[in-house]
C-alpha cells in the first residue's frame, strides 16, 4: 500500500454554481522511500494540491476526492483533532519562502521545540537536545549560538535549513517540499536539495518535491508528474519522461531548458500564460498554447489515458520521435 494515496483530488474556490477549479481530479501516490516530483508553471495547482493534502485549504476553498489516504487512514473523514496529530508529525511540509516561513517574534529554538512539544512531549531539556541535534543534522554551523537567534538575523539559506529542521523534527514519513529552493541563491539551491535528498534517503521518507525546475527533478525524482492549470498532463518514471515526453506540454517544457536550446539563437519558450479563472478554454486547456492543437483540441477536453505505460492527457500523444500520433498530417490549426 502506498504511503500517500490521492485519487481524483479536486480543490474548488468561489461560488458553488460557478466554481474555479484550482486542482481538477488529480491522482497520484507516494511510496515510502520514493521521491515524486510535481512540475508545472506558476498557477498549475501544484501548491494547492499539496496544501489540500496537509489540510490547510481554508473556507471558502472546497476539497473533494475519491480517496485521500495516508498509510491507509482516510484524511478527509477523520476528525480535525486526529488530523492535526498527523500533520506536522507524519506528514510535514517545507514552504517556498524561508524568510517569511519563520515567525519573526520567536527564536529558532522556540519554533522548533514547539513542534516537538505538540507531537513528542518529553521535557524541555530533551527537546532542547533534540533541537540541537536537528540543527546539526541540517548543517547549521555553530548551532548552539543559532538556537537563540531570531529569524531576521538569519540568511535565506540558513532560514531554509531551520525550516527543514522544523519539518523533520518529528521524523515524518512523508515530506512535502513546495519549491524549497525557489527563493534561494543558486549556490545555496544545490546544497538544500542535497540536504533534502540525504535526509530522505537516511530515514526512508517519502518525498513530494514540488518545483518548476525541471533540471532539479530530473536529478532528484524517481517519478514525475506534470501539471497544468490544475490538471495532470503526464506522469511516469523520471528518466523515461526526460528521454521521450509523451505530452506536447512536457515536450515544450523540456525544450525550454537552456541546455536543450543549443544551436538556437534564442531560448525556446512557450507562448502565452496558464489560463486563470476567467479565460479557461472550452476544450483542452493547453490548446491555445499548443503547437499541435487542431479543431478537435479546441472543442473537446481530453481525459487521462494510458499511452505506452504512461498516463497522458492528450488526444495525440507524442511518439518516440516527438511527433503527435493519431493525427492526420497537416491538420494543425
Amino acid at each position: 500500500m502506498a504511503l500517500l494515496e490521492v485519487k481524483n483530488l479536486t480543490v474548488e474556490f468561489g461560488s458553488e454554481d460557478k466554481p474555479f477549479r484550482a486542482v481538477d481530479s488529480v491522482s497520484y501516490s507516494v511510496d515510502r522511500g520514493e521521491v515524486l516530483g510535481i512540475v508545472g508553471e506558476s498557477g498549475s495547482g501544484k501548491s494547492v494540491s499539496s496544501l489540500a493534502v496537509m489540510g490547510l485549504i481554508d473556507f471558502p476553498g472546497r476539497v473533494t476526492a475519491d480517496a485521500l489516504t495516508f498509510d491507509g487512514q482516510d484524511l478527509l473523514t477523520m476528525p480535525a483533532k486526529r488530523r492535526r496529530q498527523i500533520t506536522g508529525k507524519d506528514i510535514a511540509m517545507i514552504f517556498q519562502d524561508p524568510m517569511s516561513a519563520l515567525n519573526p517574534c520567536f527564536t529558532v529554538e522556540a519554533q522548533i521545540m514547539e513542534a516537538l512539544k505538540v507531537h513528542e512531549g518529553g521535557n524541555k531539556k530533551q527537546r532542547r537536545e533534540r533541537t540541537l541535534d536537528l540543527l546539526n543534522q541540517v548543517g547549521i554551523p555553530d548551532p548552539k549560538s543559532r538556537m537563540t537567534a531570531y529569524p531576521h538575523q538569519l540568511s535565506g539559506g540558513m532560514s531554509q535549513r531551520i525550516v527543514i529542521a522544523m519539518a523533520i523534527a518529528c521524523n515524518p514519513r512523508l515530506l512535502i517540499a513546495d519549491e524549497p529552493t525557489t527563493a534561494l541563491d543558486v549556490t545555496i539551491q544545490a546544497q538544500i536539495i542535497d540536504l533534502l535528498l540525504k535526509l530522505q534517503e537516511d530515514s526512508d521518507m517519502g518525498l513530494l518535491l514540488i518545483t518548476h525546475d525541471l533540471a532539479l527533478v530530473s536529478e532528484a525524482a524517481n517519478r514525475i508528474q506534470v501539471m497544468y492549470a490544475g490538471q495532470l498532463f503526464e506522469s511516469g518514471p523520471a528518466d523515461s519522461i526526460f528521454a521521450a515526453p509523451r505530452h506536447p506540454y512536457t515536450q515544450a517544457l523540456l525544450e525550454a531548458l537552456p541546455e536543450r536550446s543549443e544551436g538556437h539563437d534564442r531560448l525556446r519558450t512557450i507562448p502565452g500564460v496558464v489560463p486563470g479563472q476567467y479565460d479557461r478554454p472550452a476544450g483542452c486547456l493547453l490548446a491555445p498554447r499548443c503547437r499541435y492543437a487542431n479543431e478537435n483540441c479546441v472543442k473537446a477536453r481530453p481525459e487521462v489515458s494510458d499511452f505506452n505505460g504512461r498516463d497522458v492527457r492528450c488526444f495525440y500523444p507524442l511518439n518516440d520521435q516527438g511527433q503527435p500520433t493519431g493525427m492526420a498530417t497537416g491538420e494543425t490549426v
Binding site: L56, Q85, G88, S100, L102, N103, F106, Y150
Partner: protein
C-alpha cells in the same frame, strides 16, 4: 538602547518648550481678567487693581512674564494658584492619583475588551460577528464622551440604581489617603465595604472614558490581525499541527500586537484629554476637573502648570511605549 533613550529624551526638550509657549500665550488670549474674576461682583477700585497687577506681575511686558515663568518652571516652581494660594505642583500631586486611577482603568478596559473584540472580528471576517463587533466599535468611536457618560448615568445609576452617580467613594467611608489610589487606600483602610464602594464608583467613569480607546484598539487589532493571518508563518504554524487556538493567540496575536501597542501609547493622550470631560461629568476629583475649574476662574498658574504636567506625562508615556516596542518586536530590539 541607551543612545536611543538619550536621543528620545533630547526630543522631549524642544517639545516641552513648545508646550510652555503655547500654553502661556493661549490662555492669555482667552477674554477675562483674573484679577476681576477674583474680585467677583463687587469689583475692585483702580488703586487696588494696580496693586494686585504689580503683585501678580501683570504690569511687566508679556515677554518678561514668560521668561519669569520659564525660569520658575526649570527650577521646579510652577507658581501658586491665584485662587487657593497653594503651590500648583502640590495641588497637582494631590489630585493626580485620582486621574491616573481612572485613566489606568480606562486603558485596561480598552485593552481587555478591545483586543479580544478585534481578534474575534478578524477570525470571523465577513460573518455577522465581524459586522457586529465593528458596528459596536464604530458607534463607540463616534459617541461624544459627555453624551455617552450621561446615557450611562441615566440608565445604570438613575433607572437601574446599580451604580452611584458621581464621586470616588461613598460618604459613609472616610480614611486618610496613603497612595492616593482609592482602590488601594480603601483596601488598606480595612473598612468593610469601602473597597466595593470604590469599585462601584469607578465602573461608569471607566466605561465612559475607555470606550473611544477601546473602539480604536479593536479596529486596529482587527486589521493588524487580518494582515498577520495572511502571513506564511501562520500557515507554517498550522502545518506543524498546532491547535487553531494556539496559532491565533500565540503566533498571530504576538505579531499583530506590535502596531496595536503604538496605538495604545497614542491613546494615553486621548485618555487624559477625555478625563477632563469624564471627571467633570462624574465629579471625579482629578486633574481634569481641576483644570476646568481653573479655566473658569482664569487661574493662569494652575492652567499652565496642569497642562504642562499632562504634556509631560503624555511624552513620558510615549517614550515608555517606544521602549516597550522593542520588547515585543525583536527586529527593533537588535537594530538599536
Amino acid at each position: 538602547m541607551l543612545g536611543f533613550l538619550f536621543r528620545r529624551l533630547g526630543d522631549i526638550i524642544p517639545t516641552f518648550f513648545g508646550v510652555t509657549l503655547l500654553v502661556f500665550f493661549l490662555i492669555r488670549l482667552i477674554p477675562g481678567d483674573p484679577i476681576l474674576m477674583l474680585a467677583g461682583e463687587r469689583g475692585v477700585d483702580a488703586e487696588r487693581y494696580a496693586e494686585l497687577q504689580a503683585q501678580y506681575g501683570f504690569d511687566q511686558p508679556i515677554i518678561v512674564q514668560y521668561f519669569d515663568y520659564l525660569v520658575g518652571v526649570f527650577q521646579g516652581d510652577l507658581g501658586k494658584s491665584f485662587v487657593t494660594k497653594k503651590p500648583v505642583i502640590d495641588e497637582f500631586l494631590t489630585l493626580f492619583p485620582a486621574t491616573v486611577e481612572l485613566a489606568l482603568m480606562g486603558i485596561l478596559f480598552a485593552v481587555f475588551i478591545g483586543v479580544p473584540l478585534g481578534v474575534l472580528a478578524a477570525i470571523n471576517r465577513g460573518k455577522w460577528i465581524d459586522h457586529l463587533t465593528m458596528s459596536i466599535s464604530l458607534t463607540g468611536y463616534s459617541m461624544p464622551i459627555f453624551w455617552w457618560a450621561l446615557l450611562l448615568i441615566m440608565f445604570f445609576s438613575t433607572t437601574l440604581g446599580w451604580t452611584p452617580v458621581s464621586g470616588r467613594l461613598s460618604v459613609m467611608y472616610f480614611f486618610e489617603p496613603v497612595t492616593g489610589f482609592m482602590l488601594i487606600d480603601s483596601l488598606l483602610s480595612g473598612e468593610k465595604g469601602a473597597f466595593s464602594s470604590a469599585v462601584s464608583h469607578l465602573i461608569l467613569p471607566t466605561i465612559a472614558l475607555g470606550t473611544i480607546p477601546m473602539a480604536v484598539i479593536a479596529r486596529m487589532t482587527r486589521s493588524s490581525m487580518l494582515e498577520v493571518l495572511g502571513e506564511e508563518y501562520i500557515r507554517v504554524a498550522r502545518a506543524k499541527g498546532l491547535a487553531p487556538f494556539r496559532v491565533i493567540m500565540v503566533h498571530a496575536l504576538r505579531n499583530a500586537l506590535i502596531p496595536v501597542i503604538t496605538v495604545i501609547g497614542l491613546q494615553v493622550g486621548v485618555l487624559l484629554g477625555g478625563a477632563i470631560l469624564t471627571e467633570t461629568i462624574f465629579s471625579w476629583p482629578g486633574i481634569g476637573k481641576w483644570i476646568i475649574e481653573a479655566m473658569n476662574r482664569r487661574d493662569y498658574p494652575t492652567i499652565q502648570g496642569g497642562i504642562l504636567m499632562i504634556a509631560f506625562v503624555v511624552m513620558t508615556m510615549n517614550l515608555i511605549v517606544d521602549l516597550l516596542y522593542g520588547v515585543v518586536n525583536p527586529r527593533i530590539r537588535h537594530k538599536r
